[in-house]
Symmetry: C2
Subunit: 430 residues, 2 copies
């Protein structure tokens, strides 16, 4: 009788405040099924760690470390921007993964990443299976962008949304106190290259300030400067001030980004690095109205805010890890457990498995009915959608006045295979 | 027998997360001494509200509203950038204040603002007294900048410091996870035009990550680009990444601001609006090392973060309000209760009264021994100073997933005096 097949878990793409809760759930649940799962490994830096054999073993992780994982933002096993090339282009990458999987007797591959990288993970698992080493691949959902198709929402989004809404509310109170004598316009930038979900989350401040003069500029809508200026004028006239939340990926009516910070060139593609659009928006208002403006760019702060984790979002991230292992136990392969809403009041949700290939190239955008006719305000339907996702607080422990969080030290296993070097020039820099 | 003299409270200058705790304390304590204090008023927008007779009455404020005040960030009675001109230049401003004070029988003036405006408040009180209407003026300390001289620290600073340290720690974990495959440098901007205290607060992340490759660029030290680049190089070589916190008011070796966003011209002075220096620092690193960088500008978020209030800072802000009323009860005039440290372990502090004129033009800077020899790291002495100030959490209540905070509605009293118009052109736009 052969021993049980081992488990490999890896993280890829941009981090979230709750992705490590998913990691903890995968590890916990696999440990509870020793009749199925053998050793538990994690790769450092996603698929890169597999290729380069940078692995850690978690089979005997302590309860204490699991608890630390559950409250640690960012990616405990390090993120990765690298993805395998198509099989026909670089078959040696697939051979290498097969060699590593065979050596470590990996039979289950849980990949916590973006759609694209999870599909690659499935392809590599299929490749292994076809070459006589069966591997089950299950995706674990995560993204702050909330653009995961077929899912009610994405684990990671709720916490980033809670951070942005809280921050915008607090800054709005600041502006409110200053506007009669000083700053009259404030713009805050939200992440979101193609999807405006995080900008939409700023709309939540309406639940505390019903009539707040707030303009939302989501990535999905082209920026019509004239309409925007008119709306600012309207709010100046009626309220005396105006706040704005804008997607980093806002484009003008010609379809060009308002602010490309820098363009990174790679073998296959140019990646524009975005940033500072809030600043540009504020500048336009200052120049047009001759008023004092301010702008904020929270950048990484919004996706790593352990101190503003949404309890519901955390439960979804933790649940996503459990659901992935359940899917493996149920004999699935090439699936991603996504969130299905069961009822609105009370807010009830569960996981259902969808095929990774079915969600691969889909992007979920903010639907029209979540935005007002002019595309610059949130509707009640939008609020109703967002409210349950940001609900509940889950504070990390504090030490010395700041969150008691720090990188966890998982020592790398000694390498046993011949070295393998990744060509880093073609890694997406985003 | 004449009735008791009435109280006027006002707020001026930039807001903090805890200034309203001072307001609540002043009101509470005055209410408890009806044998001394008559009605309690607050002016909207500081001294502007006095001139324009924009007053609210707080004598019968409810316990519920006081509780709301205690957790509300920003300035509940609206901030003010206006200051009275010298008496010899615009005596009519002083006459107007006297007229308002006389009409409302104001005998106590509690001014919660910056040094400069508190001195003006004293001058105006003296003017009233000299003209037969005795007014006691007491300052209430507040500033996130921590540059208040003669005080161990400033109420408002600890919470902003806690916010910045927490944010930088979380972003550093993000960078840590990404740096092997993506972003290698992250810079965050802290407020502080002339004082680097808030940038120094970033150093607190060393209590969680002892060997963190952190560069601090406080406003007090001129930016030596070569030394900075060498230090980044050192951290890249030894750690593979580097984080940086920089004062908005950083100047180059020629003494010029690295980034003047915009210059506002007024009758008396040009006010450069600063912002975006973190971005410039990140750009320099990207250009020099050809690595991916990110930067964050929290702007108003750092001074309004009700969700990251330091319990010790809150106690100081609340205590500052109480101490001001105590000073009035004790017969003082023209004083400011400042914080005096009594012992380090346990951290014990109390208030002592200093003369407003003695602190007026002093600015407290980060002392040399809080910084390493190269001026870019924090020392143990610096950490020892900061730690008690950020200690303790004091979360606001949450509603709908975000803090349950919103502007409080204090209706303006109907005006009873002839109207008075302020010349807004000469108001400092900072």
């Amino acid at each position: 009788m052969t021993s049980n097949r081992n488990v490999l878990y890896a993280q890829a793409g941009g981090v979230t405040a709750v992705i490590n809760a998913s990691a903890a759930a995968v590890i916990e649940k696999c440990k509870r099924h020793p009749e199925v799962f053998g050793k538990i490994y994690a790769a450092k830096n996603g698929i890169e760690g597999v290729l380069e054999e940078n692995l850690v073993e978690l089979t005997h992780i302590s309860e204490c470390q699991l608890d630390q994982l559950k409250q640690l933002p960012s990616a405990a096993f390090d993120a990765c921007r690298f993805d395998l090339d198509p099989l026909e282009k670089h078959p040696e990458q697939y051979e290498r993964v097969l060699a590593v999987f065979r050596h470590y007797q990996i039979g289950y591959f849980f990949y916590n990443g973006g759609n694209g990288s999870m599909v690659t993970a499935q392809k590599v698992a299929d490749y292994c299976t076809e070459h006589g080493h069966p591997v089950t691949c299950i995706g674990v959902a995560k993204t702050i962008d909330n653009d995961l198709a077929l899912s009610h929402c994405s684990p990671g989004f709720g916490s980033a949304a809670k951070y942005l809404a809280t921050s915008l509310l607090e800054a709005t109170l600041d502006l409110y106190a200053m506007h009669r004598t000083s700053t009259k316009f404030f713009a805050m930038e939200a992440m979101g290259r193609n999807a405006g979900w995080l900008a939409l989350a700023g709309g939540l401040i309406k639940t505390q300030m019903l009539d707040v003069p707030l303009i939302i500029l989501p990535a999905e809508r082209l920026f019509d400067e004239k309409k925007f200026i008119n709306k600012v004028q309207h709010f100046f006239d009626t309220k005396g001030y105006c706040v704005c939340i804008v997607s980093e990926g806002l484009k003008n009516t010609e379809g060009q980004y308002l602010n490309v910070e820098h363009i990174e060139h790679t073998e296959f593609k140019d990646y524009p690095q975005l940033g500072g659009v809030a600043h540009i928006i504020a500048q336009k208002v200052r120049q047009h109205f001759d008023v004092k403006t301010h702008s904020a760019v929270p950048d990484y702060l919004q996706r790593s805010a352990s101190h503003l984790v949404s309890a519901n979002d955390w439960a979804m991230a933790y649940g996503a890890g459990k659901a992935a292992v359940t899917a493996a136990l149920d004999g699935f392969h090439g699936v991603l457990p996504v969130i299905e809403k069961v009822s609105d009041v009370p807010f009830v949700w569960r996981f259902k498995n969808v095929k990774l290939l079915d969600v691969a190239d889909l992007e979920k955008h903010v639907p029209d009915h979540f935005l007002s006719k002019d595309g610059m305000e949130i509707t009640q339907a939008g609020l109703d959608y967002l409210l349950p996702l940001v609900k509940g607080e889950r504070y990390p422990p504090f030490k010395n006045g700041i969150p008691d969080i720090h990188p966890l030290d998982f020592p790398l296993l000694p390498k046993q295979l011949p070295p393998y070097q990744i060509d880093r020039k073609r890694v997406s820099p985003i």
